[in-house]
């Protein structure tokens, strides 16, 4: 599987995992949070967010729970599972290595 959007998809997964690593969030909050932190550079559309969430859940990295949100409505909150936390560490390390490598190439070639 070497589709061109693999990296992008992998990146989205990483962003989601990182975003919910501090506290459980629901889909809307995850999208908002990624937008705020990235100073609105990264806009996650629902069309890619929810399939990614469902995929991560089916892969066992995250788990979900229904509970009221800030406005009192029932929302599906996602949180990391224990294997998910390990997965996040692994992907973070991978990302560091990759961005470091890209940086090296950009700087010295």
């Amino acid at each position: 599987m070497s589709k061109p959007n693999d990296m992008i998809q992998g990146t989205l997964d990483l962003l989601i995992l990182r975003t919910i690593s501090q506290e459980p969030r629901h889909g809307w909050a995850i999208a908002k949070r990624i937008g705020q932190i990235s100073e609105e550079v990264l806009q996650v559309s629902q069309g890619s967010l929810y399939p990614a969430l469902h995929r991560l859940e089916q892969q066992g990295w995250i788990e979900s729970e229904w509970r009221p949100n800030e406005t009192g409505r029932d929302a599906k909150f996602y949180s990391l599972t224990r294997p998910g936390k390990q997965q996040l560490q692994k992907e973070l390390a991978q990302w560091e290595r990759l961005s470091h490598a890209v940086g090296l190439v950009l700087r010295y070639s």
Binding site: Q46, G47, Y50, P51, E57, G60, E63, K76
Partner: protein
């Protein structure tokens, strides 16, 4: 690990709680939409514009939802469920095909597995001994001694000089009376050599085997018991070894008890083993020579032929030692060596192999039938597939659908077949196939079951899928045209199908005829007058110790005592002692000479069995006296010697005269004359299927002989009578064993058992073959009709009468049947000749039966082809033509 478990739970939830999962997805996306809309509102949009903008920002919600669903990975199962649903509808829509398919599979798998397992458990299962393939049976046969005989001195020579055999075992069967337990017991026993158990590779569970020193010319009084005897008579006492038991009034020390799983051969299971004195040197002057049966164990790497050659050489070296009388008596003997297993299975081998062949053939016919059914069905569906393809159906999806349908059919049939085989197993066990295996040894072999499953399921799926795949390989355009229809039915496959059906019909005729012959034989036998009334008749055997009752006087007193006790049992109407119980054969016979007729020389005098009895014997059996009188109390010792003869005797020796009042003499020349005083109906002493012989009945009072049986007429059930009979004998002499207490009816049915088994087996086969043949014809005709729908449509449109179409189709069915019936008749005749020995008053040339069997098949086939024929005659011309 936990991760996979939670994944599994999620999948299960997605599969089985689909509604809830869907609702949650919708709620989740709805929330996102609402938040988005609220955001636009806060930016100053009015309610309507905010909703619109939110919807635009959201993008394709349905696509996103579908993509979320894809993440659940349940698509395969969803489709499978759909296919299953569709398959069930399709199978329900074609009930005839479904029924025939499932029935063929179930019968094919069930019946074949069962029969295969029976044959296999008898023929192939190794004997329960150490390395059974090394064991051989050694015998020496001659024309005069066709059953063969090996004498102890020969055995001794082999034992001492053979290098090809690592061990030799000899045994001789004996009967014993065990006393000192509650009732005296009649036991089957064997005398064996010291190496017997070691050669078979059996170690006693308790104690030890015999030593060579115990097995010398004067064997020690030691015994080894079977596990069964140890449990039933000695309550499994582990301290029994070293104690003494009494056999034939002599004490023997128990030295061992055999393991529970030890079996001897087939029906004959000795309970006690004694050393026979077969380990000593070769002595030709011993007063008593046992006739041995011998088994040997081949050394590693030695062939049976090498062993035989060596034994022959040993015999040749010692041939001069054999005394002349033995050599003359036995004639020229030749070695008869074979694997032990083969000896034990014996004559049944060819019969079982025939059975096995029949099973294999039936299995193949089942598969071919399934193939024909499936081909016909696949053909009818080619246009359906063509349309599906033309409408853009997914080829892979169509194959999956077909596979589902075939798997569904196959698994229902297979499940029924397997369940049927297991359900029938207890019944087959009670048949206890000719006592060849211990009943519990008979089980369904998993390998056989898997084989039958694989074969039938494989053919069902292969033939169901094959033609469809051929259609699917075409472009929709080709498929819509008639091209598809020629794929499913080429000339070659047509001819193959026709031939197969002919074979099926021929085979079915053979089996139906064989069953008919056996059934007719059984009917003849059952209608044979037995010469007695078996209901309410109980017989028992007992054994009189010749040492305790040596004189005629003592025997007479014993007889009186037994009769007194037996007659005192409540409910006994009459009772008698005899030396020949019905179905028990005879124990005495003599050559006879008639008074006033020329006396032939000793070698060629006629002979007859002699039944000695107490006066009430014939009354107890309810055998009618046809003329003259029966034996009465006045026929005492010292009065005129009298005899009653049976009807056969009268007919044979006095064809044109009245035998009553005539005299004859039996035994030695110069014996006193005996007067014939009555004629009695023929009692079938040797069984319902054995023709009565001329017999002579004499009173015990005048002809003292060895009593061995008692016949009792009583309406009491056996459950009450048996203990009473045992008690009566115990009171007379507690060392006298009484055994084989049974109702006459049960003895007759036991006598009929092997016939019953043959009838059941052939009957089952013939029903199966009949079914296969009829469905085979149905399958082919049905297929033909489907293929020619258009033709029939045209004919009907042009004015052909439906009746003409019906007869045309049926004619084809009957022609097909006739093609199989003609060779089938020849095959049947061959089979009938093969079965000749099992027939009773039925000849293989019983043409009425042939006509009947053929007619039965023809009628069934006519009915089977009537169904598609009617369908053909009802073809709607318009619909048929629209197919173009």
């Amino acid at each position: 690990m936990r991760r996979y478990f939670s994944i599994f739970l999620l999948r299960m939830r997605s599969l089985f709680r689909r509604g809830a999962v869907e609702r949650e997805l919708e709620k989740e996306l709805r929330l996102h939409f609402d938040e988005l809309r609220a955001e636009f509102r806060s930016q100053g949009f009015n309610a309507k514009d905010a909703a619109l903008a939110a919807r635009r920002a959201m993008g394709g919600v349905a696509q996103a939802a579908e993509e979320c669903r894809d993440q659940r990975r349940t698509a395969f199962w969803d489709r499978a469920a759909q296919d299953l649903n569709y398959s069930m509808r399709a199978l329900r829509g074609d009930p005839m095909f479904t029924f025939l398919g499932i029935a063929s599979l179930a019968l094919g798998i069930g019946a074949n597995t069962l029969m295969f397992s029976v044959v296999q458990s008898i023929l192939l299962r190794p004997l329960p001994y150490y390395k059974p393939a090394q064991l051989i049976s050694i015998n020496e046969v001659s024309q005069r001694m066709p059953t063969g005989v090996v004498l102890p001195p020969e055995f001794a020579n082999w034992r001492q000089e053979s290098h090809t055999l690592s061990g030799l075992a000899a045994f001789n069967d004996e009967q014993f009376t065990l006393t000192g337990t509650h009732d005296a017991q009649h036991l089957a026993g064997a005398t064996v050599n010291a190496g017997f158990f070691r050669t078979l590779g059996v170690t006693p569970a308790l104690g030890r085997a015999f030593s060579v020193s115990e097995d010398g010319p004067n064997p020690e009084r030691v015994a080894i018991l079977s596990d069964q005897l140890w449990r039933s008579q000695f309550s499994a006492d582990r301290n029994l070894v070293g104690h003494t038991i009494v056999l034939n009034s002599v004490g023997y020390t128990v030295v061992g008890v055999l393991p529970r799983n030890f079996r001897f051969s087939g029906q004959w299971q000795p309970d006690v083993y004694l050393p026979g004195g077969f380990s000593g040197p070769a002595l030709w002057n011993a007063p008593r020579m046992a006739w041995l049966r011998v088994m040997g164990r081949l050394r590693d790497g030695v062939t049976m032929t090498q062993a035989e050659r060596e034994l022959q050489a040993i015999n040749d070296r010692h041939s001069a030692e054999i005394p002349a009388p033995y050599r003359r008596g036995f004639g020229d003997r030749a070695f008869d060596v074979m694997p032990l297993q083969q000896r034990l299975v014996g004559d049944l081998r060819p019969a079982l192999l025939v059975l096995w062949g029949a099973v294999a053939l039936l299995l193949l016919l089942t598969c071919s039938n399934l193939a024909a059914l499936q081909l016909a069905r696949a053909f009818t569906r080619t246009s359906e597939f063509a349309i599906r393809l033309a409408l853009g159906g997914d080829r892979k999806r169509l194959v999956q659908l077909l596979l589902t349908e075939n798997l569904l059919l196959a698994s229902v049939g297979a499940a029924l077949g397997v369940a049927g085989a297991y359900a029938a197993l207890p019944a087959v066990r009670t048949l206890n196939m000719l006592h060849l295996t211990a009943p519990n040894d008979l089980s369904i072999d998993p390998v056989v079951l898997l084989g039958a499953l694989a074969l039938t399921l494989g053919s069902a799926i292969l033939f169901g899928l094959g033609p469809a795949l051929a259609v699917l390989a075409l472009t929709p355009n080709q498929a819509m045209k008639s091209g598809a229809q020629s794929i499913a039915g080429g000339t070659w496959s047509d001819r193959a199908r026709t031939t197969l059906v002919a074979v099926q019909v021929g085979f079915a005729l053979t089996l139906v005829l064989s069953a008919g012959l056996l059934l007719k034989s059984a009917a003849h036998i059952l209608s044979n007058p037995l010469g007695m009334q078996p209901a309410n008749l109980v017989v028992a055997r007992f054994r009189v110790d010749p040492h305790r009752y040596a004189t005629d006087e003592r025997k007479a007193v014993l007889g009186q005592q037994i009769m007194e006790r037996i007659q005192r049992i409540p409910g006994v109407e009459s009772a008698a002692l005899t030396n020949a119980l019905p179905l028990g054969g005879y124990s005495m016979g003599a050559s006879i000479v008639f008074k006033g007729r020329p006396v032939p020389p000793p070698g060629v005098r006629p002979g007859a069995p002699i039944v000695a009895m107490t006066p009430d014997y014939l009354r107890t059996l309810e055998s009618p006296v046809l003329a003259g009188r029966g034996i009465e109390r006045r026929d005492r010792h010292g009065s005129v010697l009298v005899a009653i003869v049976n009807h056969s005797f009268a007919q044979h020796f006095f064809p044109n005269a009245n035998p009553i009042g005539k005299y004859f003499r039996w035994g030695a020349d110069g014996a006193p004359w005996t007067e014939i005083v009555g004629i009695v109906a023929d009692v079938r002493h040797s069984g319902p299927d054995a023709d009565p012989e001329p017999e002579i009945f004499v009173p015990f009072a005048q002809v003292p002989g060895n009593v061995l049986g008692v016949a009792i007429r009583s309406a009491q059930p056996l459950k009450i009578l048996a203990p009473a009979i045992r008690k009566a004998f115990r009171e007379v002499d507690k060392t006298m064993p009484v055994f084989n207490i049974a109702t006459m009816e049960s003895r007759i049915s036991m006598r009929m058992e092997s016939r019953r088994i043959e009838l059941i087996v052939i009957g089952c086969f013939s029903v199966l073959a009949f079914f296969l043949a009829v469905t085979g014809v149905y399958g082919v005709i049905n297929y033909t009709v489907t293929r020619r729908t258009r033709e029939f449509g045209v004919k009907l449109a042009l004015g052909a009468s439906p009746f003409r179409i019906t007869t045309e189709v049926m004619r084809r069915g009957l022609l097909l049947a006739a093609g199989g019936l003609l060779p089938g008749l020849l095959l049947s005749y061959a089979a009938a000749r093969y079965l000749r020995s099992l027939l009773y008053k039925v000849t293989p040339e019983d043409w009425q039966l042939y006509a009947g069997a053929a007619l039965l098949l023809l009628i069934a086939i006519a009915v089977a082809s009537l169904i598609p024929a009617r369908r053909a005659s009802r073809t709607d011309p318009l619909r048929a033509l629209r197919w173009e």
